[in-house]
Symmetry: C2
Subunit: 103 residues, 2 copies
Amino acid sequence: MTAEPHPTPGFDEIVHQPNRLGILVVLAEADRADFSYLKRLVGLTDGNLGRHLSVLEDAGLMELRKSIEGNRPRTWATITRRGRKCLDAELAAMRDLVSRFEQ
Amino acid sequence: MTAEPHPTPGFDEIVHQPNRLGILVVLAEADRADFSYLKRLVGLTDGNLGRHLSVLEDAGLMELRKSIEGNRPRTWATITRRGRKCLDAELAAMRDLVSRFEQ
């Protein structure tokens, strides 16, 4: 048996994780999304969502901006160009893997 | 903004993890694969590969069998029916996500 290439090399752990992937998908489709919307969407606690957002922000895939609306602070997330690029790479890796099985 | 459904609900953490996904892909294509082949393929240490294989085995997605060939012990991995089903579900979830962006 000769070694064939690793079948899943295109998956980056930061983007690939399902909750972070879900967040990036939503941000790629929307202009921006706020913390409570993302929280409802992915069904995480404040702490867990905050941790995933930090991972994405530290990797330069997403930016957070805080604003005050009325008297309430809101946190808005937007995807960066790098975030879109990494999401595209993830989707391309998924497409490759799926087509491998469709042949 | 109304809550839309979570965009990545079909991803199961056990199957989705890139190294475990790679192992299942190879096992779905081959009849069986031995420990050292899988190790070369995914580029993991013995300990890390062993842990991923345990996770897959505990979830009933893969079976390990030990044999002695010559004087050397070999460990063979095969995918179970449940493993194929879960891999199919993962690929279907990937297909859905990719097609969401192709529209």
